[in-house]
Point group: C2
Chain length 337, copies 2
């Protein structure tokens, strides 16, 4: 185990000098010694000890990535979460940071992580509003919130324009002649992402004189697994001719269930998703959906976070990313009646 001290000894300089070389502190060391030390470091296979560094600097190169747990489901079975965290991970490494991925519903875990690891920053995804007030450490460390809405002053945020997304879905479906519509959420009571998509959907429907009844909004995460609820919706006299889902995954589940009920998509019922994940292309029929650019989102999030890590005085930032309609084959054009 070779240490900084060993390098210093071998180079015949002080630890300070070596440290300055490692951290690229400009102008403190002569070109010549820099080169000499760098060579020695390379040859000896020296790797800095992160724990020592974190301890001395009172800040690690770890970024906590906190995902809102929903039930005890495998965190990455949700393909959106998987893709998003994958993108964040890549982006963090590229910038010299290490992700600490935490999936929890107990915000004491979060606090312990943030403090215990002296994280440089934190990224939250999908956090339920009721939890935010419990996280005291937030004021201590630069943070970016994503996939959630809230009103904490000073909080940075990168989000998707969920309202516009909902509106685009409404306009598209209405434009295709649909007037009897429904909405299926993941967790509408808790997730304000779902709420915003619904709000936009309602808003977009208004000009067409369409109003979503309460029974047309399926509220629980169990929905797509719960045949009964769906049955009630689908077996009504005036059953919807199109259903807008808050996520591709929900749409895929829905299509599977409809299929089992012998209701064909899009012939009998049209379906729309949200996200445009790879799965949207392998369903039958391929899913019409609203695309959000997850890689771009991850990049913006990490850039924003690093900006705030480097300069703690920066005022809060908020960015909303647009979505794009991707037309495939799960929505049918209705004849004028």
């Amino acid at each position: 185990m070779v240490t900084l001290k060993d390098i210093a000894k071998k180079a015949g300089v002080s630890m300070t000098t070596v440290s300055n070389v490692i951290n690229g502190n400009q102008g403190r060391v002569s070109e010549e010694t820099v080169e000499r030390i760098k060579t020695i470091i390379r040859e000896s296979g020296y790797v800095p000890n992160q724990a020592a560094r974190s301890l001395a600097q009172r800040e690690s190169r770890i970024i906590a990535v906190i995902i809102q747990a929903v039930g005890k489901e495998n965190i990455f079975r949700n393909p959106y979460t998987a893709e998003y965290v994958g993108a964040l991970t890549a982006e963090l490494y590229q910038n010299g940071y290490y992700p600490l991925i935490r999936y929890t519903d107990d915000y004491r875990d979060v606090e312990a992580d943030l403090r215990g690891w002296n994280v440089a920053g934190a990224i939250f995804s999908g956090t339920f509003p009721r939890h935010l007030k419990n996280i005291k450490s937030l004021t201590m460390v630069p943070t970016v919130f994503t996939d959630c809405y809230f009103r904490i002053p000073g909080a940075n945020h990168v989000g998707v324009d969920d309202v516009s997304g909902g509106q685009m879905a409404a306009e598209y479906l209405a434009g295709m002649g649909h007037r009897r519509l429904a909405f299926i959420a993941n967790s509408i009571d808790e997730s304000d992402v779902d709420q915003h998509r619904l709000e936009g959907f309602r808003e977009g429907l208004k000009p067409f004189g369409v109003c979503l009844t309460d029974e047309s909004v399926l509220p629980t995460p169990a929905t797509v697994y719960d045949r009964e609820l769906l049955k009630a919706l689908v077996e009504r006299e005036d059953r919807p001719s199109a259903i807008f889902c808050t996520a591709d995954r929900v749409a895929a589940q829905l299509m599977k269930t409809l299929n089992a009920m012998n209701i064909s998509v899009p012939e009998d019922i049209s379906v729309m998703g949200f996200d445009d994940l790879p799965m949207a292309e392998i369903t039958t029929p391929p899913l019409t959906t609203l695309r959000q650019d997850i890689e771009q989102k991850a990049q913006l999030v990490v850039e924003m976070l690093i900006r705030h890590i480097r300069n703690k005085e920066l005022p809060e930032e908020r960015t909303l990313l647009g979505v794009k309609l991707v037309e495939r084959q799960s929505v049918k054009r209705l004849m004028e009646e």
Copy 2:
């Protein structure tokens, strides 16, 4: 920022005593003081500093999770990887360890991580044999390899019985009357998981007098995206009546491509997958596949690793998990000809 020292002062005891309480060192502290100190800790919201702990103990509570990168694709777009890492993550947290997820093809990164963070252990997934020899730190830290085959003495391993899986696929397809068969891999040159599945497939085909020709083994990861290669296979006079894929994801892509070529599954060609991920249920038709229990695998891996962290003298262990045929609707029974 309250430290262990503060707690000691407040309790009127030494740091050692507090440390012993925190680490649950039995019998070194009286019941009474334990309670008193625990109360103080709780009330003051003390969180131990992981960096200091790691430094003093020369070992962190971090477990490196190393995923073999294939190209620069988003790590978790591969649903198998996503599900597996999700399960590992949960399992690690449950045991008081923190996952450090690294997705790379450059094994200098791996070494730097293992050494720099003083990881307690490492879990490798899908590592290509050509990389193993480059990782020197391996001998230093308890490690479990998964989804790969190799011959490093002393290496722990948890794997899936890929050979049996391939065999089962062969027997099933042959039993359904198929005699013209093909195999599609992810990355057959590099992945020995793919190679073992193919080997088992060939083995299982033998009793039926069926022999896989070279043209019936599609070798590159590009395959399913590469219409040309697939076309050559599928437009032959004696085109296969069934194709066994090394992963559900490959099977799903294949079905999508066949669909675009106006070849229907299973009417024209039958398809089998491997893994039984959630996606196998949402394809049309639902995919017949070989199920591996990922949660169980993750649990075994973490248990094994922890065993070896606690007792570094333990001899190497190797476990092979079985797979199970899950019959859905992507394979057609052929009439006797």
